[in-house]
């Protein structure tokens, strides 16, 4: 029997996740193709929520489509577009559709996307939304009203790996408010990731000691295979939290896209013993994921 995402993670197995991008329109053809590439290749599929503030089909609907197609979705839910009522409605909707895995994040600001005139909602922030997801699971809504049926979720969040000061305290708050797994930003600096894992482990132990949390959090490292030196430099300059070291850029100059895959699999082999899985982001090219998973050597096997 194939283990579900939550069971696999919680029983200490290494997981692989990837992403599908909802369509910007009602045409589901590309989405079905993408699901097809990922089916049987990854343990669960993230469904993004108007990522980069570009309007697309909602993650609730697309998560249901992923589930109907026989794969396990991780529904991303941001704070950008919905107030606390709509967020609760969507979470209950997810429960109603049998969607268990939720990944909560703040969300890119509308000014960065394709509808910059939209009102940025941000009624709650990610910590408050994590708390709200916890309330719903405890059977009450935001105002304390009893629910007719309490949903059950496996809740995660996102994190950078270069944390200090307020960012570090925020990471801790996410754990305190119910995040059970984290998908990190793309890892290129393995030493930095090791430091992050050590720090995360320390915080986990501290919170376990205080009985704030009962379990160990799971960390799924983000992996974005480099496609070109241009991409590497672009990310260094434009994407917060991502630093591609110069030595990888030099290798990309010599080896091109193929070298990017080699680098990705090297990073994974160096970090896999300290983390709980990898989240592969191919920036829309889901057809590349099976090759990467094979390089890593991790097709989901039956347990």
């Amino acid at each position: 029997m194939i283990m579900g995402f939550r069971d696999k993670l919680e029983s200490g197995n290494f997981v692989i996740t990837a992403e599908v991008t909802p369509p910007k329109g009602s045409d589901l053809a590309q989405l079905h193709d993408d699901i097809g590439y990922l089916q049987g290749v990854v343990d669960a599929i993230n469904v993004t929520d108007n990522q980069r503030a570009i309007m697309r089909m909602c993650p609730l609907a697309v998560s249901a489509i992923v589930k109907n197609a026989g794969c396990e979705p991780i529904m991303q839910l941001t704070c950008r577009d919905r107030n606390r009522m709509a967020l609760q409605s969507d979470l209950l909707g997810a429960a109603g559709l049998g969607i268990e895995n939720i990944s909560i994040m703040t969300g890119d600001h509308p000014l960065l996307g394709d509808i910059p005139s939209a009102k940025p909602v941000y009624d709650l922030d990610s910590v408050q939304l994590l708390q709200l997801a916890g309330s719903l699971q405890a059977g009450v809504d935001f105002s304390g009203n009893a629910l007719k049926g309490a949903p059950s979720f496996f809740v995660g969040a996102v994190s950078g790996i270069d944390l200090s000061g307020a960012k570090l305290l925020k990471f801790k708050k996410k754990i305190q408010t119910g995040a059970r797994f984290f998908q990190t930003q793309a890892v290129y600096d393995v030493d930095m990731f090791m430091d992050f894992m050590q720090m995360a482990s320390g915080i986990n132990a501290e919170l376990n000691g205080k009985q704030d949390v009962k379990q160990d959090i799971k960390i799924i490292a983000g992996i974005i295979p480099l496609k070109s030196t241009r991409m590497a430099r672009f990310m260094n300059e434009n994407v917060p939290g991502i630093t591609v070291p110069e030595h990888y850029i030099e290798r990309m100059e010599k080896g091109g896209a193929k070298e990017g895959l080699v680098i990705a699999s090297e990073i994974v082999s160096r970090i896999r013993d300290v983390c709980n899985g990898v989240h592969i982001m191919t920036l829309g090219s889901c057809e590349k994921v099976p090759e990467i998973v094979d390089l890593i050597g991790n097709r989901p096997h039956h347990n």
């Binding site: 704070c79 950008r80 606390r84 994040m105 703040t106 969300g107 890119d108 600001h109 000014l111 960065l112 940025p120 941000y122 009624d123 709650l124 922030d125 990610s126 910590v127 408050q128 708390q131 996102v158 994190s159 950078g160 000061g165 307020a166 960012k167 305290l169 925020k170 801790k172 708050k173 305190q176 408010t177 930003q185 917060p240 939290g241």
Partner: protein, 215 residues
């Protein structure tokens, strides 16, 4: 202080399209300080409107645009002659072009039988720091907890209004929105550090109650 800025002149002309006999009214408080609606700005607007073919029947600067105690008194106060002996009267106006914040325009509209039109856009509550105007100091949430954040309001200064910040979008202390906008949470972190009050950041801040301002 309420921060306002002048609308582009073509927009003002668009607003006043088909309207003539205009009285230009400034405000002696925030708009005067900001140089968006004090006497020099009112005079400059009068000239621009006349050059654009509008009939400006008069101008004035109300000491406080958002305080209106008597419309009749206000009419009489603005019914006179300028230094060249020309009539300068609001009583001849079909429109008042308000060079004040939205509040001034709104208050005057409550009592005025002459329609009022905005020459300014109101953008923020701010102040003046070392002679420089600072914007974005308060968003009037009606439930102030600014002390928790060392006096830097995250609802105001963080574009996402995060109470438990920062978000993952800031890089090297610069906000996700760029333009050299400093991450408010970096500022809060540094300020609390100075005050030896970083433990505030460990507290899980609750969401704002949006019913408060309306109750």
């Amino acid at each position: 202080m309420i921060i306002s800025k002048q609308k582009p002149f073509d927009e003002i002309l668009e607003i006043l399209s088909g309207i003539d006999n205009i009285f230009v009214l400034g405000c002696g408080k925030c708009a005067k300080k900001l140089r968006t609606g004090g006497e020099p700005e009112v005079l400059a607007m009068r000239t621009k409107l006349s050059d654009a073919g509008k009939n400006v029947v008069g101008y004035g600067v109300k000491s406080t645009a958002c305080t209106m105690n008597s419309w009749e008194e206000f009419l009489d106060d603005n019914d006179n002659y300028d230094e060249d002996g020309n009539k300068n009267s609001i009583k001849d106006a079909d429109a008042i072009l308000m060079m004040s914040c939205g509040s001034g325009l709104s208050v005057i509209s409550c009592v005025s039988d002459i329609p009022a039109y905005p020459a300014l856009d109101t953008t923020a509550i701010g102040g003046v720091l070392f002679d420089k105007v600072v914007s974005e100091q308060c968003v009037m949430c009606g439930q102030c907890t600014i002390d928790v954040f060392g006096g830097i309001c995250p609802s105001t200064r963080c574009p996402k209004g995060m109470m438990n910040g920062p978000c993952g979008g800031s890089e090297d202390g610069i906000c996700e929105l760029g333009n050299d906008r400093e991450c408010a949470w970096k500022n809060i972190d540094e300020r609390l550090d100075k005050l030896h009050a970083n433990q505030s950041l460990e507290i899980i801040q609750k969401p704002k109650d949006f019913s408060k301002p309306l109750k």
